[in-house]
């Protein structure tokens, strides 16, 4: 027995060495991949949202096709909205037709929650149900919204809808509820998994590329580079809200 033991010991050491070194090698091989994965996916599920990023969108008015409604349809499908346009139906994104009253120039653009840095809806909400995440996304906590609609009154962009009826067929990732207020979430459930917004994706798919989504805080992001190089505006910039959604070509 002892002999055997003595004989096997060096073998075990060698095995141990091989195991440890292969784990090390595997680690070295996987690490860069993991780092890339991390970069691509923003943050891990258990990691807190950070203000190092600020999500935003740049909408190119000149590329937005007048008759196209793909962003609206995609938003409705993604978030389980009915797509109805009655005055009591929720619309998180809508196409607005613009006509310059002096020159007669006509254009169209998508309008949704502008994800302000200083959101009036958050200021007026009595229960803090309207809140802004550290990464700039303005959301409504459906569990503490009492449905007072003060935020709807305060929003300068008419971006909020009140759920007037009992809802059925909701998406598990997008909680909604009768008697509460809702608006564009910037597809937070997609962003948290490293994705982009449904409207931006649909616009690209349609070949228009009018909606550019990205991190406004990252100087190397496509959106940051773009807003550095072209003139873009915030809607109602006079209100000083510093919106996360910007427009070019208005």
């Amino acid at each position: 027995m002892n002999e055997v033991n003595l004989d096997t010991k060096p073998n075990l050491d060698r095995r141990d060495f091989l195991t440890k070194s292969s784990i090390g090698l595997a680690g070295l091989a996987i690490a860069p991949g993991m780092m890339l994965f991390d970069l691509a996916h923003g943050r891990a599920q258990d990691e807190a949202v950070s203000n190092k990023v600020r999500w935003g969108m740049l909408i190119d008015n000149t590329k937005c096709e007048s008759g196209c409604n793909d962003c609206v349809t995609a938003c409705n499908t993604e978030n389980g909205l009915s797509g109805g346009t009655k005055p009591t139906d929720s619309q998180w994104i809508r196409k607005v037709q613009l006509k310059d009253t002096l020159t007669g120039h006509v254009s169209s653009l998508p309008m949704m929650c502008q994800h302000c840095e200083h959101p009036p809806c958050v200021d007026v909400c009595p229960t803090q149900a309207s809140f802004k995440r550290a990464d700039g996304i303005v959301l409504v906590d459906k569990h503490i919204c009492i449905g007072c609609r003060y935020c709807v009154m305060a929003c300068p962009y008419q971006a909020r809808s009140f759920v007037h009826e009992v809802l059925t067929d909701q998406k598990t990732e997008v909680p909604r509820g009768k008697g509460t207020v809702e608006s564009c979430t910037l597809c937070v459930h997609r962003i948290d998994k490293g994705g982009t917004t449904a409207c931006a994706e649909a616009c690209s798919k349609a070949g228009h590329e009018a909606i550019l989504f990205g991190d406004l805080n990252d100087p190397e992001s496509a959106i940051s580079k773009r807003i550095r190089s072209v003139a873009s505006i915030q809607v109602r910039a006079d209100l000083g809200l510093n919106t996360g959604v910007r427009y070019e070509g208005i």
Partner: protein, 396 residues
């Protein structure tokens, strides 16, 4: 003789009135239940007009509640004896109106079942959240105020408590005005003039409600109010109505002067169909000029004239709030100044609104709550004003 017949049936009349009030409270409950079950789809409200007729009722009652207490303040703080005799009644009516107003406001929420969240999650930047604090303070102070007046041993405290009540009331009504004054993007609101305007409106509306309640109580008890006192109160109502009219005029004139606001003013004062009609005929003519004529045209002071003037002021207050709240929301937001806009969400359109039966019943239910509290409490608590002879004359 009349007095005897009256007292024999007095109790029956009282219970009949309680039953009538309870019936309307019950109808309000049914309305609330319908709204709770089906959602706001059963109201005329929509995503453009999110505050409907219940807000008109609620804000009337909350503003008038504060105004009614003004009568108490004139007595307690400024030492006017005829008003001091009316302080307990003013305190009771104020509490009744605030309960009615808050009931409507809360039951019109999308999730009234979650009202406790308003207490557990407090947002310090929200004027709504401040108001929750202001309303509860109002109840506490009003109850304390009543106690200092009705309990003889506590009488010495009535002046300091009355003073606190006065300050609280001014802040509370400013808070109601600020709910709208803080809405910077709405053409109708976002004016620093609104809080003082609401305070002056509260004086007029509170006085009008008080005069009606007082007249009913005197008639009920077969008493006649000293004409000198009635004349003083009537003239004060006139002063408040003129002041309100002045502030409303200034509010519209400043708006008319700003080019960016003229579109809205033309809508509310001239082109907006129902809204200009309700404003001019309801508020200006019926609610202000006619009562002023009744108050100031030389004639013998009589209770009927004063009650008619007061009821007209109350009708005018509903007209003004209807135009202010509904008309203010109906006019589209200016999201793209300089552009004509249109969308499936009705950008650039005048929003349509027609109040539905459930929401009207909810508002009426709130009034019924205030009515019930008033008639029951005035019967239980000795609150009818006791005027010493010729008190009014001595004070003048």
């Amino acid at each position: 003789m009349q007095s005897k017949t009256f007292s024999r049936y007095e109790s029956r009349y009282f219970y009949a009135l309680v039953a009538l009030g309870a019936l309307f409270v019950f109808l309000g409950y049914l309305a609330m239940h319908t709204m709770e079950e089906h959602g706001h789809i059963v109201t005329g409200m929509n995503n453009q007009i999110v505050w409907g007729i219940p807000h008109v009722f609620a804000i009337f009652m909350i503003v008038a509640a504060s105004g009614v207490l003004n009568i108490g303040s004139i007595g307690t703080i400024f030492g006017q004896k005829p008003y001091k005799a009316r302080s307990p009644l003013a305190g009771l009516v104020a509490i009744a109106l605030l309960v009615g107003g808050l009931a409507v406001l809360m039951l019109d929420l999308g999730r009234p079942d979650r009202i406790i969240i308003a207490a557990t999650h407090f947002n310090p930047t929200s004027v709504f959240a401040w108001n929750i604090f202001l309303y509860s303070g109002f109840f506490t102070l009003a109850a304390l105020y009543l106690w200092t007046m009705l309990e003889k041993r506590m009488n010495v405290w009535s002046k300091p408590v009355g003073l606190a009540m006065f300050a609280w009331r001014v802040i509370l009504t400013s808070g109601t005005g600020m709910i709208f004054a803080f809405l910077v993007v709405r053409q109708a609101y976002g004016s620093a003039l609104l809080p003082p305007m609401f305070i002056v409106l509260s004086f007029a509306w509170g006085m009008a409600v008080f005069l009606v309640v007082q007249a009913a109580m005197y008639a009920w008890n077969n008493k006649t109010l000293d004409p000198a006192i009635l004349s003083r109160m009537k003239n004060l109502l006139g002063l408040f109505v003129v002041s309100s009219l002045y502030l409303v005029a200034i509010y519209h004139m400043t708006n008319l002067y700003f080019a960016k606001q003229t579109g809205f003013e033309y809508f509310i004062l001239r082109d907006g169909g129902t809204y200009p009609m309700v404003f001019w005929a309801g508020y200006v003519l019926l609610g202000s000029l006619l009562p002023l004529a009744l108050i100031y045209l030389p004639s013998r002071v009589n209770s009927k004239v004063v009650v008619s003037a007061s009821l007209l002021v109350i009708i005018g207050s509903f007209a003004l709030l209807y135009v202010f709240i509904l008309g203010g929301q109906a006019y589209p937001l200016s999201i793209f100044p300089g552009y004509e806009v249109s969308s499936s969400f009705r950008d650039g359109e005048i929003a349509k609104y027609a109040p539905s039966l459930p929401e009207i019943m909810l508002g009426v239910g709130g009034l019924a709550i205030a009515f019930l509290i008033t008639i029951i409490s005035t019967r239980v608590i000795n609150s009818i004003p006791h005027d010493a002879a010729a008190v009014a004359k001595n004070d003048d």
